[in-house]
Subunit: 346 residues, 2 copies
């Protein structure tokens, strides 16, 4: 029998505390009988929670960490003083080879800083990125960087394209996902230096990639490409703008239906269909930003999520741990030479 | 009686041609009895369209322009060879003092380049910006820059804040609109150099402004502030991402309702409420990007809009022409000294 997969979990990371982590584990252990878990956090609290749930017996071990990273802690602070936190221990289990993947709902900046420090970056990749999965009119797409960096050079965007393509291959099951660079127009002369350089490099290389060229903001929801590449500033703002807009439309819908008795009656009769819509738009279904570019896999769950959302992040982590994404990233990245990058640099 | 207001219209700018412009005028002349119009474009075509509509008699004059700007024309090209286009003539009427405001549904980059060249930039303002109005949970907010520039320094973002505040004062009727800088987090150390510099300048000045600090993408739809300030790259992508998301949710709603007969029946009964939602989300209701920072007012209508949308752009242009936005911008900008800007520059 193959070695069991082990997922390392920061049990103290999210806003709701370790209770939702244990509830999420109860959902996930049934779906994945060959996966075991290491929980990092307050031993007393965790052992008490686990003792109440016999179904987790033998599947979950605990590593004591007396501290936890706060949401307002700066990355520089946690690198200096965070060695006793549950987040540090969770990543350390991956570094030590005891687990294949780490999951945390904690402070994103701290998690990225610790992951980079402890695991390191894949050779040849300039910067890690956070990828997330978006619903589209055609299914799902991958968007990155959703906030690991506050800017990106052309070369860094090219690295994001390589990593996003490998991620979409594994998670969306596409042989050759199409890749687009997010821009303010689709014509070649449009955009800032970063996107223009990245496009020039991607056109010049022998990379086995279905590079589509530039796309615009509305192309994300339309599903024009499988992988949307952008810098972490724009990607983070686009992600949160889209979440805000979906919520706004949902609120407008509820208000419109409540205003008249015909609206209320229609909503009552169509409640099954409206419930299906709610589930479709539920951000918990695809919860998690995946850190790409590290020598090890780290998944960030939304800090404010509940057990259902945290279980989705665990599912994502397990899917990532089963695939060997980094060998595809390294192989693809080798197609891009220093000369090709220098030829288009400013 | 006060001098009548005159609106200068590029009649050949949009995808649909001059037909929708004349239909839009028929809607607008009734609402604004003291406003007259100059149409620039193909004289023969325009005179024939006008001859069929007696209600426009005496309210509309025509200026012949044999050429038109194409959607794919580069700004540099139209500045050299665009003097005979309807767009050039439309802006020229404002420059010559024959009209208070120009409206075009043509190529945005060309319209901005021609407007800057012909009208010039307000003294003290570094770059013009495109503002647009977004629906929010609390009403409406102003977002700028939506695409005039592909990047912005801290000082330029400060100029956008001053211009956006003045615009919200006039169009939303707020005495002192609140202003937020779009960023990847709300903590002071977050973000790129541009937003950090802009925040430092806005905190250091004696500007009479309700500066809120940083906001995130979801704050736009939530209506956290009245004015959202960002660079043109991020703003354009956020705008189009939001439009795409609203369309996506609408499509998910239709699909969900169609899937079951209960959904279809409920939708039929609630059709009035769903129609109200559709009107609320109709992008034609607030159609138009407003060019701020120029010595003259220019309104850009969406290129693909119809007569209803173009009429909204004309309404916006008339509201702008009635107010003296530039004197508020100049007065507010004077509160920011060179020393304050240099103190925070890198």
């Amino acid at each position: 029998m193959a070695r069991e997969l082990v997922v390392s979990v920061d049990a103290m990371g999210g806003d709701a505390g370790p209770g939702i982590v244990v509830t999420a584990l109860l959902r996930v252990v049934q779906r994945h009988p060959n996966v075991n878990f290491i929980l990092s956090g307050d031993e007393a609290v965790l052992n008490e929670l686990l003792a109440r749930n016999s179904r987790l017996k033998g599947r979950v071990s605990v590593r004591h960490a007396p501290d936890r990273v706060a949401m307002e802690d700066k990355p520089s602070h946690v690198l200096r003083r965070g060695r006793n936190t549950s987040m540090w221990h969770a990543i350390d289990a991956v570094k030590a080879g005891d687990a294949e993947v780490a999951v945390s709902a904690g402070n994103t900046g701290a998690l990225m800083a610790m992951s980079m420090f402890q695991l390191g970056i894949i050779d040849g990749i300039s910067r890690p990125a956070i990828a997330s999965i978006w619903p589209t009119m055609r299914g799902q797409s991958v968007v990155l960087d959703c906030g690991a960096n506050v800017s990106a050079t052309g070369e860094q965007l090219v690295d994001f394209a390589v990593m996003g393509e490998a991620f979409a291959h594994i998670i969306l099951g596409l042989e050759r996902p199409s890749v687009g660079l997010l821009n303010v127009g689709t014509e070649e002369q449009k955009g800032n230096d970063g996107v223009k350089e990245a496009a020039a490099i991607l056109r010049a290389t022998s990379l086995p990639m279905a590079f589509h060229g530039f796309i615009e903001g509305n192309d994300i929801a339309e599903g024009t490409v499988d992988v949307v590449v952008t810098d972490g500033f724009t990607g983070n703002i686009a992600l949160k703008t889209a979440e805000g807009t979906a919520k706004l439309v949902g609120q407008f819908l509820r208000r419109s239906l409540k205003r008249t008795w015909m609206g209320q009656l229609g909503a009552f009769i169509a409640s099954g269909a409206l419930g299906a819509l709610r589930r479709k738009l539920d951000p918990r279904a695809a919860n998690g930003g995946i850190f790409l570019g590290l020598k090890g896999v780290v998944v960030k769950s939304h800090g404010g999520t509940d057990a259902i959302g945290f279980a989705s992040a665990l599912d994502m982590a397990i899917a990532m741990a089963k695939a060997d994404i980094n060998s595809r990233i390294t192989a693809d990245r080798a197609h891009i030479t220093k000369g090709q990058i220098q030829a288009v640099a400013p």
